[in-house]
Symmetry: D2
Subunit: 178 residues, 4 copies
């Protein structure tokens, strides 16, 4: 998950955040942006393209930290607008019930979801996006892929292992896992 | 639930439908139309006003039968457009997972939900509606009420006992039951 | 889905049921029996082995019709006890919210779930089973497979295409889709 | 929420925890213990009786922090066994999907859920409990109340305002909100 930009805007210094990350689970949102047809069927999943710390290009969903004092739904809105641009028009779900909870650990054996930096508890939401999207900030590109394409071996290999599983869970939840 | 208009458009004669209603559970959608703010918070619930068979005015949510060969999401779209008008722009959920299942029985003791005509299995969905709504067909009026208003004793008494409970479950699910 | 035994116990003659099946969606439960550990993690999925009408052996989950006047939870209990035996001790979920809705159509193109006999609306539940199970009635065998085994190509090919997808959705919902 | 006992067992000193609580959302589980009948219907809700910091007796559900490195389901098991005793036999849900997310803020206006000490993100689960329960540690008593009793004005007034709403959401989710 990429959220180094928020660290600066929150009330924690980088050093304090580092310390907290080694001692407390950190709350995240994991949002899977989708395009749907008139009947609500998911036609496309949106994936960001980023350059990772190792220089490799990775496809990602929208993920980021919930700040102190911030509602989960406001964190969803903030991260979606930050990553997809101000005209994306994300339809934040009316219910706080996530479709899944994803637990990332520095120890990859605990849950199968790995984050070397921290223990993150990600609340997963599928978010229909209706407006014009443009990748912003540190993302190089945004692609919209069909459910079939997104689970193809080629695309799956470009997703981080964690995000690849979140996407498949999202497709299962929306009834369109091929 | 009001669906006499569909009976004519389905492939069952009124008489055959009557027979089936005495022998098989009938699949329904129960849709709670809502207005939400930018962050997805429910600000208003839409209630229809109808004249019941007994001449009394009742407030109702959108409910109707799923036809043979019809997907649940298409039934949702059809009933919402029929009751709220063609410009209502309902946002049909991307997931088929309902927030609840409501079981109406001719025997009021089985589940607390009563339908003298039939055993109906209602799939409950909260549906954000973004467009211009106008009550159509047999509805006299459509009002948008805040969560506080909708659970007030006055309004609750105007809802059918079943729909009143569905609305409260929907408010609980969306985190805004007062 | 196999439910010919119920037909006899319901209030519909075989002929009337045949007629209704051509005209109305039929309500089903689709139950995925699981073994869990103390922390609720799914360790095994239970699959029945049956001989289909064509003489081929098929693996199946527990599926069957909801009868007139019967609550969904009673239908779950009845089918699980019928298929897994009277000592199975299924833990019927406390919430009526299914994890998915599966729509089977005589036309395989509508939803990707195919049932040549009928339009069935299946409410999907994951049901932990704690007791001793023995396949009963028309099932030849019951096997408990790990999530990895159940999605292996060999087992997946023995499941009906519909049930295979339901099982994967159930694994995604419980957070253990490999 | 009461979790001062955990503070000692985690890797944060009381002082560091105090600092973190002023800067980061803290992950909690909110578990509503229930008794169910054979068909899964909730017959009773379990409420703990505690003496609050102000000396007043309060009824509470089971709530507590998720520790660093701990899975949500292990936190559920730990808190339920701590509060209900080692023979309670809680049936931890197989799915990580909570029925709701409850957000407590030091500012009571943000969500209506108030915690003067911290911003807590509570994952809500309904947990059937099958064994013998005995209130342990700092709880004085444990009572099992019917859904009707638990929403009665007398009992509702003894619950903290936050827990009272969580219980009503849980009853709505399980289909037994009166």
């Amino acid at each position: 998950m990429t959220d180094f930009t928020e660290t600066q805007s929150s009330w924690l210094s980088a050093e304090d955040m580092e310390t907290a990350r080694g001692r407390l689970p950190i709350v995240y949102v994991n949002a899977v942006p989708v395009r749907t047809d008139e009947a609500g069927v998911v036609t496309h999943v949106g994936l960001l393209l980023r350059i990772g710390p190792d220089g490799a290009a990775n496809r990602e969903i929208v993920a980021g930290r919930v700040l102190y004092g911030e509602r989960v739904r406001d964190a969803l809105l903030r991260h979606l607008e930050k990553d997809l641009g101000p005209l994306a028009l994300p339809r934040i779900p009316s219910s706080p019930q996530p479709f899944t909870v994803i637990e990332y650990f520095p120890n990859p054996d605990i849950s199968g979801f790995y984050d070397p930096r921290q223990h993150a508890v990600g609340l997963g939401y599928v978010v229909p996006v209706e407006g014009d999207c443009e990748p912003s900030q540190d993302a190089l590109d945004l692609v919209w892929l069909s459910p079939d394409e997104v689970v193809s071996p080629t695309v799956a290999a470009e997703l981080s292992p964690g995000h690849e599983k979140v996407v498949r869970r999202a497709l299962a939840h929306t009834g369109c896992l091929p």
